[in-house]
Amino acid sequence: MSTATQSGFVRWVDTRLPIVTLMQKEFGTFPVPKNFNYFWNFGAISMLLMVVMISTGVVLAMDYMPNAAEAFASVQHIMRDVNYGWLVRYLHQNGASMFFIATYIHTFRGIYYGSYKSPRELLWILGVVTLLIMMSTAFMGYVLPWGQMSYWGATVITNMFAAIPLIGDSVVTWLWGGFGVDSPTLSRFYSLHYLLPFVLVAVVLLHITAIHKVGSNNPLGIDVKSPQDTLPFHPYYTIKDCFGLCVYLALFAVLVFFAPDLFGDPTNFIPANPLQTPADIQPEWYFLPFYAILRAVPNKLGGVALMFGAMAILLALPWLDTSPVRSARFRPIYRPLFFVWLASIVLLGAVGAHKPEGIWVILGRIGTLYYFGHLLVVMPLLGRIERPLPLPDSISRPVINRGSLPRGASVAEIRP
């Protein structure tokens, strides 16, 4: 790299510890496909939310008391008596939702554009692992305020492990640190809630390492063919990410300052009471589709297995999808079915928010059936029988022609 613009000190450091060179290479001149759309902003947005969550969390930990007697009151202490404690706490509480929104969009973008296909299988698997870590962290974090929904949510979820044959009950007792959800459960969840985010950072760094090895996918799903197809990450994508971040942070601010309890459950303003079960126990919105899958199966072990399976199956996505074409844009049958699959997840989310009665039971089963059917049957078969649309020659060509090729047009027709 050029050293002409560097000060003597920077050069001194860089020749001993090439951190400046590394940053320049990975985030400066790093070549990136030039045809990203705005869905490609959500990786950077998720990263920023991770930083927001860790920094606000560290501050909250200074005043939070992880024991059953004081936890609820200590959260109120933070909200009322600590200077700007309400701000830090609302940022953390709503940051979780904003983090999940960004990461879910990032994930569905990866699925729509086939970003998990060779050579990006490990990149994808690392991404699913980050999502799993996020989910565990969020679940344990929701227990910490020790309201009614915290307590009963923890009770319902930990009880699921009792479905494991033979050792289930022992496992649950071991998880609780006692014979019910109580102070020992709370303090161990707190410990893990503080630990897991740093594991998350490590896996995210691996995720970034992988993408810097295999390069980014793009909306056309075709490989980079020449330097004409790419732009240096800086300034092109740094500025685009900055714009995306500002818009997303404006939305985040609307939530934090004007509707901080929008995603919360009023029941969680009531302190945990082991003697009084709330009328309706439900998890945070980001778990609702999984909760619906759990309840769609009449058998406890089956429900638990399907619920965890719904995430685990994503790890196998690179091998379940047999199509040689990455981007759904060029897959005329898969593309509408992707949206049906997305609709089945939204449907499952709605089912999760309702009591399992009447029509909701049936809808839950239909949604579950399509969720798994799409991944286990449609994807493997469709890749073999579907005739993809012709792919463009290169990334730079359709960009000149303003967008992708017209449907049905072959590359030969528009070639000069």
Partner: protein, 253 residues
């Protein structure tokens, strides 16, 4: 636009919108107009101060506000000297003397609100087994909280002939199960407002809910005020970065 995207969006609207099933025969609280409602709502300080008077006169014998301190009353416009005077009406524990005996002293603005009972058992012993909930977060603890509390406070009536009330219970169609241990807390003519406002049960209920809504979220006024600036800042920065992005990307094919 993609047909399926539209279907997904519609499905989300239709399926996500309906609220959870209500308790079968519990009345839905009618909506009132609140000063604190909406993204720009603030606290009507005069109403909240009257509400504090209601709390002190009608509620505080049984219901605590344990997460509040007397100093917090500055949030609804009480002056420092008023707060000192309010706090001094109450005697609170102040540790032990050097013989190990409990010492009490008049509360100061830094003291937490005095609890009505030393502990839950004492409350139950006094109140026929019932435990009055703390009111610090009561408005936030229910869906549609302010309207629910208002409806509950004004909704007492004589039990219909077919309803047999348990011993010591009162009839209130807004309460789940319709039988509530709390006797009607607000009664016509009990309260005389110091600011000359005409005192009715409806007025009392409206004022005390305003006070309790503030008590649940004392940060609200400051939060919304700061929020306007923060949102505008990020929108402004979005404009600046968008313009920069256009300029940097100019000429990229």
């Amino acid at each position: 636009m993609n047909r399926f995207a539209v279907i997904v969006a519609l499905a989300g609207l239709v399926l996500g919108a309906p609220a959870r099933a209500e308790e079968a025969d519990t009345l839905t609280p009618p909506s009132q107009s609140w000063s604190f409602a909406g993204p720009l709502g603030t606290v009507d300080q005069a109403a909240a101060q009257r509400g504090f008077q209601i709390y002190a006169d009608a509620c505080s014998n049984c219901h605590g506000l344990k997460y509040l301190h007397y100093r917090d009353l500055s949030g609804i416009g009480f002056t420092d000297s008023q707060i000192k005077e309010i706090a001094a009406r109450f005697t609170v524990p102040a540790g032990f003397d050097n013989q190990g005996n409990l010492v009490t002293k008049p509360a100061t603005p830094a003291s937490p609100f005095r609890p009505p009972f030393p502990n839950d058992e004492a409350a139950r012993a006094m109140l026929n087994g019932a435990l009055p909930p703390d009111l610090s977060l009561i408005v936030s603890s229910f869906p549609n909280g302010p309207n629910y509390i208002y409806a509950l406070l004004t909704g007492y009536r004589d039990a219909p002939a077919e309803v047999k009330l348990a011993d010591g219970m009162n009839y209130n169609p807004y309460f789940p199960g319709h039988q509530i241990a709390m006797p009607p807390p607000l009664n016509e003519g009990d309260i005389t407002y110091t600011d000359g406002t005409v005192s009715t049960v409806a007025q009392n209920a409206h004022d005390v809910v305003t006070f309790l809504a503030w008590a649940a979220h004392p940060d609200m006024v400051q939060r919304k005020r700061i929020g306007i600036g923060v949102v505008l800042y990020f929108l402004g920065m979005a404009g600046v970065t968008f313009a920069l992005k256009r300029r940097i990307w100019h000429g990229v094919h």
